[in-house]
Assembly symmetry: C2
Homo-oligomer: 676 residues x 2
Amino acid sequence: MKSSLLSLTLLGSFWLGSATTLGQASDYPIQPVPFTDVHVDDPFWSPRIEKNRTETIPASFARIESTGRLKNFDMAAKGEGKFCTTYTFDDTDIYKTIEGASFSMAVHPDPQLDAYVDSLIGVVKAAQEPDGYLYTARTIDPANPHKWAGPERWVLEHENSHELYNSGHLFEAAAAHYQATGKRNLLDIALKNADLLLDVFGPNKRHVAPGHEVVEMGLVKLYRLTGREKYLDLAKFFIDERGKREYDENSPDPWKNGKYWQDATPVVDEDEAVGHAVRAMYLYAAVADVAALTGDEAYTTAVDRIWDNMVGKKIYVQGGIGAVPSGERFGENYDLPNHSAYNETCAAIGNVYWNHRMFLLHGDAKYMDVLEKVLYNGMISGVGMDGKTFFYTNAMQITDHYQHHDLERERSGWFVCSCCPTNVTRFMPSIPGYVYAKRNDDLYVNLFINGSADVDVKGKSVTITQENNYPWDGGLAFTLKPRSSTEFNLKIRIPGWVQNEALPSDLYRFEGNSDAKPEINVNGQAVDYTMDKGYAVLSRKWKRNDKVEVMLPMDVRRVVANEQVEADRGKVAIQRGPLIYCAEWKDNDGQASNILLPEQVEFTPTFESSLLNGVTVLEGQAPKVEVIDNGLGLKTETKPVRLIPYYAWANRGPGEMQIWFPEKVTGVELFAEESK
Amino acid sequence: MKSSLLSLTLLGSFWLGSATTLGQASDYPIQPVPFTDVHVDDPFWSPRIEKNRTETIPASFARIESTGRLKNFDMAAKGEGKFCTTYTFDDTDIYKTIEGASFSMAVHPDPQLDAYVDSLIGVVKAAQEPDGYLYTARTIDPANPHKWAGPERWVLEHENSHELYNSGHLFEAAAAHYQATGKRNLLDIALKNADLLLDVFGPNKRHVAPGHEVVEMGLVKLYRLTGREKYLDLAKFFIDERGKREYDENSPDPWKNGKYWQDATPVVDEDEAVGHAVRAMYLYAAVADVAALTGDEAYTTAVDRIWDNMVGKKIYVQGGIGAVPSGERFGENYDLPNHSAYNETCAAIGNVYWNHRMFLLHGDAKYMDVLEKVLYNGMISGVGMDGKTFFYTNAMQITDHYQHHDLERERSGWFVCSCCPTNVTRFMPSIPGYVYAKRNDDLYVNLFINGSADVDVKGKSVTITQENNYPWDGGLAFTLKPRSSTEFNLKIRIPGWVQNEALPSDLYRFEGNSDAKPEINVNGQAVDYTMDKGYAVLSRKWKRNDKVEVMLPMDVRRVVANEQVEADRGKVAIQRGPLIYCAEWKDNDGQASNILLPEQVEFTPTFESSLLNGVTVLEGQAPKVEVIDNGLGLKTETKPVRLIPYYAWANRGPGEMQIWFPEKVTGVELFAEESK
């Protein structure tokens, strides 16, 4: 290896938050409590994380072997054969699954898995070229590489090669693996590759705006780990390369005007979330990282503007982003059609990454409100109850009469382009890391997940325990156990949905107002509290076993969209707590598209423990349109309607699903008998 | 002028059909009777052609002046200013309107118009560069041309410049103007430009597949006129240039795989109608021309295959082609959605050009069946009753709930890209040229339009007169007046719709069979006749005032689509005679999308002389879906339904229109109240 690696000290939060081995100018003012210090024991989340450990990770590794992804590395090591999968970025599925396995092993040691991962790392290492280049689609047969790879290294990086994308996921996996195991085998591979990038790219060297961002986030992780500023500099260099190419700015085609790659405008001048949604999320997350690490205000104000645009004009009510199937990308402002909503699962995960960083930058609960919306709705909808079937896209509406649409009605075990399953694999075990954060005297509680966490506040150890039945019930209980009594501010996020914010923007709002201020008790006594950026601030000298109780009212709320969202005009969606509900065929006589929800419909929440691993359903009576007279007529009748949480749809076979319901009908499209 | 122009002899049919001044190897076996010899006096068509003369042509010239199109030529002549319209092909609107004015003057002399056209030709001449180049977008300021023009002549011809497209329309206009007036002023400009093309393009010279075809048709016309084989050779060269570029054949993007320009495949290997529909029509028409003129069998079989594909899989029931808005192009086989149907008016006109040539090549009535379908439905729908408002696209379905679609609901006077109005302008006066044709002993009657024509059959003059009330009535009467009794075959097209051919393919079929063989009387006596390629053949020695009567049954027919057309499954369209009918909001209580047409609905035809310049409407009783209870319910009730001919829609304000109706309903999409 060329660079002499600086000594590494394992710091809990290096992959997300703050200070590393070497001092740096600045960082996120808020530091997350690392997932390794958060011990989740939660009826909602624990089974999911455990399913990821016992089903998703093994299934992912099995598919990596069976589909030829591992064989590609083998062939690269031997310099013989023919790249045997479809995409040049198929290498990353290995990296991402190793990342997930590492996160999992960090909280659930598993020597057998550890050994298996080591064996994979050995295969990866053998495929790395002597100078650090690692990209099987070329190395297997450099004279005749995959057509996306281009004839020479890097020449098609912007267009299609994903060479730097592969590096980025390698870096992320290596950081996770090192943290989980303390072993440097994957990290050494990553650093050797990163040092090659330092040689090749930079001012006075090769320039490129990476085609699919993620290398920037990966380089920041290597910087946090090693303190080598050149990695951070290179991340910033790649970000600053955007917006320099010549495009046809008048073209509406995102490939011709550069928006597809977030390359039409320099990042610091951007004010709109554009292009391929996953690339966008990874870029904006990296911009937040670099903003925090360099203190560059132009970066901060850019991501603030872009966030305002996305949350104000380009996000679905279940948290999905990237409306347009062609290019898996953001559409125009307010253009959020339901029938064709794309909402890639990877984009939802990227949205969590970005919003978490925005919170760490600004300390505002609104970012966690968005994160919660994504997490509980449009992200976990991407994985089935079995833990091994996945949605690539997350539909807003499935009707029997749009079966010809390409969007998915059923989850699949794997995809030719299998980015989403492996992204789920790496994301799920990291969820505990989003629950808590701290800054000086402040301890933030962002998510309501049972379990305990060990936190160092002002140098003093505090254990905080949560007991609740969230998201089914709004009653939250927190027990604080400081090693010794300590004064600090407990900041509990009061979700926007408790009062009137369906989303921290005017994109969606609730019908009717609720000015209820949640009641908070400390040790059984109601206390006054102030609100600060969406947090209830409880400032006191905390003693062992102090108990805080918060009651978040969980009424069934009717959500209406900004009238500029044409697809949702005159329609209503139903939300309870953080959950968006949907009607699925299975609960509604085989249909969902025939339901009206006028104002007077009332829903009763009931927890059904045997349904869909336990969900609160909403039941009411509403008008339903039905075909009569052998197809020659229609009638409307009030009938029972049952809604389930959106995330749980498509676990009982394919059929209709609907989120937005007309309040009144003003017209219909009639669908005809379909012949065979 | 560089070339010494051969002496020209004005032959009636040179721009469409057969032999020219100089003998050529071969030509279309069938020759059209030129429109100048067909004297139309028809209640359906004469007002349209007259409206074109009195309204459309003057309005078109007025807009050419007011929009700056003429100014572009002025500036080019002076070499100063800045190209002041949007598109580099805006020059062609002048050429096309001169072409229309010329056709019009050929049958309706107009000295004032003649003088005005001469003055325009003077302006055009002044804009021509010394070597014959004529393209105002560059000549105005060659150092800083329109961005589509490219930095040098011809370099962007394939992509966007339209330099050869402009030449093609110039050639067509010049041929028409010369024929109408006998004046060479425009023809000289065209030949000078054509000779420049001969210098620049060809084997061992510059190669290009013209970006927007039409120069090929134009060159053929100059060849017919001058007999200079180099023009024909260059037309063939341009056709043969297609399919040679490198594209990404795996890309679904028609710009990346070359299909947009009909450039993915050499023409002789093509078997599918692809890409931009207008370009496709002009190409296929030119291929038919070159096939006829060179006897090249590979050309003939190619256009036969492509025609089979288009008529079998890619044409709407009203004759529209080019389903896809993006790229104004053909979609995939059987992909004929109604909501988004594009159906450019220019493509309909091009489809007439092509089918006429296919008939001249093969003598089969099926081509005229398609031509009639296009002409009476999806082509004349492109121009309003006022003669000066136009559709660029011709919708299949307009519903109040798809108002956000970009497709037109109302005609406009002009467009930024105004190809369609000027195409209508040039096409309308040429319609009489499609009525008759001849070959040796055969006189073909293709269209049923009142008036008389002077035809030379076997060297003997015959006048044929038509009397009918077509398309409202199927009773046809023909009176023959040979100068002296003459034996020849009168071949009267028996439209496919008389029996069971909704279209000469299996794309659409009628519900129920009709084996009725039309009765034909000669001088009041029923006669036996044979059928040959869709024509009733009446072979006899014709005497002066022989009268032929044909009764085409005009039942109301129910049309169903091939089940592979997903958009039309379980639906029915209504046809009577050559006309496709539609329901328009105005006749149906403000709606059209709510109508079911189950089998048992019966329609009564009634001619309404005061409606829409006189149309036969179809009236019946059918189930209609209606919103009740202030939007909280739907019901179905049998109510009066009135259908009008499709071509006449959108003359009474914007609103719903529908061609395909469910026979039965199997489901609905509910549309919600739209807020402001």
